[in-house]
Amino acid sequence: MKAVTWRGVNEIGVEDVPEPTIINDHDIILEVGLTATCGSDLHLMGGYIPAMRAGDVLGHEFMGTVAEVGRGVTKHQVGDRVVVVSFTSCGQCWYCRQGLWSLCDNGNPNPGITEALWGQAIGGCYGYSHALGGWAGSHARYIRVPYADQGAFPIPDGVSDERALFASDAAPTGWTGAHQAEVRPGDVVAVWGAGGVGQMAARAAMLMGAERVVVIDRYDNRLAQVRTHIGAETLDYEKVDVPAELRELTGGRGPDVCIEAVGMEAHSPGPLYLYDQVKQQMRLQTDRPTAVREAIYACRKGGTVFTLGVFAGVVDKFPLGAVMNKALTLRGAQQHGHRYIPEILDRMSRDEVKTEHLATHVMSLNDGPKGYRMFKNKEDGCVRAVFRPGA
């Protein structure tokens, strides 16, 4: 079957790969309907997450039709239309039972890599390097889904493929950020990054009762999407001083909750950007934490800063003094989608969550390299390139 693969740093290929088969009893094989690019893929593409091998199939945000079910699967049948969460989690360990699904003890068959890097291993993720399990990704005609009773969710009839697709990764990631950061009714919430993840975090915060939600980015088309489709306010960080604006609109306090949805390749108009780039290129730091620094600086005393953006290793010039003296709560997580997806699909069926606008460019798998180039360079207003393997 055809698949979009990682071939090397900044090199995406289209290759013929073998079709997956059922290996464990709780597997299903899914015929992929739609599969999206995600900001996380850019970190893989750029070589910032080092555990990739040439030939690895990319893609972790996807939906489709059940094509085959393993003997132990009870909730799915051939022909069902489902969306699959990007993390592979067992549902039986203590972490899964706590609702902290991405921390699953059993979902990563290669735990040694992340144990060595971080002290403990987290769960696995499709198409996300050998550090997160070595699972083949979804940019292919078929994908094997382990622990299918836990990770695949039936799509309600009224919800289109294009909308349900983002219940896989972007939306549950946004929900993870807003919920784990404990957004409360009346809060002012600032979100850095107006990609799929930032937009969904903003929407989740609004639905959790935030009084004002402000999204920060520099791309006009993305900020326009935030205003039109999400209903949140926006700030262009190239045109205004973000902490100053946030201070003004919160009566001098700063936002109660600051959600960072940018990640380790953050951009910045300030002088530290050059410093960060040079240090990252010299491998003296692995990640550029520009937006996290700004979030910490802007956050109100005693507030919460949440890193939804992906970081892999160590960062430099981290404002620990502000975290300590302002009594901030600093948290982060990979998405715990299993606990949020049923609610998200329900809200999608009631038009409370709309996502189709994120799929700005839909194409065939053959266009994989072009799709990734457009997404990376944000060409033609690309917010997410989406592949249709059946096309």
Binding site: V9, H26, A54, D105, E115, G119
Partner: protein, 162 residues
């Protein structure tokens, strides 16, 4: 540095070094010592399993551990705060298991036991051992990180449980 790591590191350096830098910093003794590389002096390897202690019969352990027969000691005790049961095993005959370097080279005498403990936890909690291979993939051409990564992922399941 042993020659194994030296070879991979210089290969990486010649190729630009970007892709394996992180993994290398883990095996490089001059880099900050990662928690995962260390082993307790006692030799016990331990996992917490989400089961009551009464559900774990040390006389009838899952096959991966039972296969060790009398070569291992087994200890169970309740984990605090309802987190389940701590299941610990250690080899009766423990020669030095070396550091992360010998583990990477596949020379860790505790590696098989570590892997077995991990599989036992999965069998108790989930009822099956999760397998990733054979996973579909395209052509495996050489990249800077690929060689070290292949060596690493071969032992990663074993390195997985402390």
């Amino acid at each position: 540095m042993t020659s194994f790591v030296g070879t991979v590191a210089s290969l990486a350096a010649r190729a630009g070094g970007s892709a394996v830098r992180q993994v290398r910093s883990v095996v490089d003794p001059s880099a900050a010592r990662p928690a995962g590389a260390s082993q307790p002096a006692s030799g016990w390897l331990v996992v917490t399993v989400l089961r009551e202690q009464s559900d774990i019969d040390t006389a009838r352990l899952p096959a991966p551990l039972a296969d060790f027969g009398g070569r291992i000691e087994v200890r169970v005790r309740p984990a605090a705060d309802g987190k389940g049961t701590e299941l610990a095993v250690r080899l009766r005959d423990r020669r030095s298991s070396g550091g992360v370097l010998s583990r990477l080279g596949g020379r860790d005498p505790q590696a098989e036991l570590r892997s077995a403990l991990r599989r036992a936890k999965q069998l108790i909690e989930v009822g099956e051992v999760l397998a990733v291979d054979p996973a579909p993939h395209g052509k495996r051409t050489a990249t800077p990180g690929g060689m070290l990564l292949e060596a690493w992922t071969k032992v990663a399941p074993k390195a997985g449980v402390r």
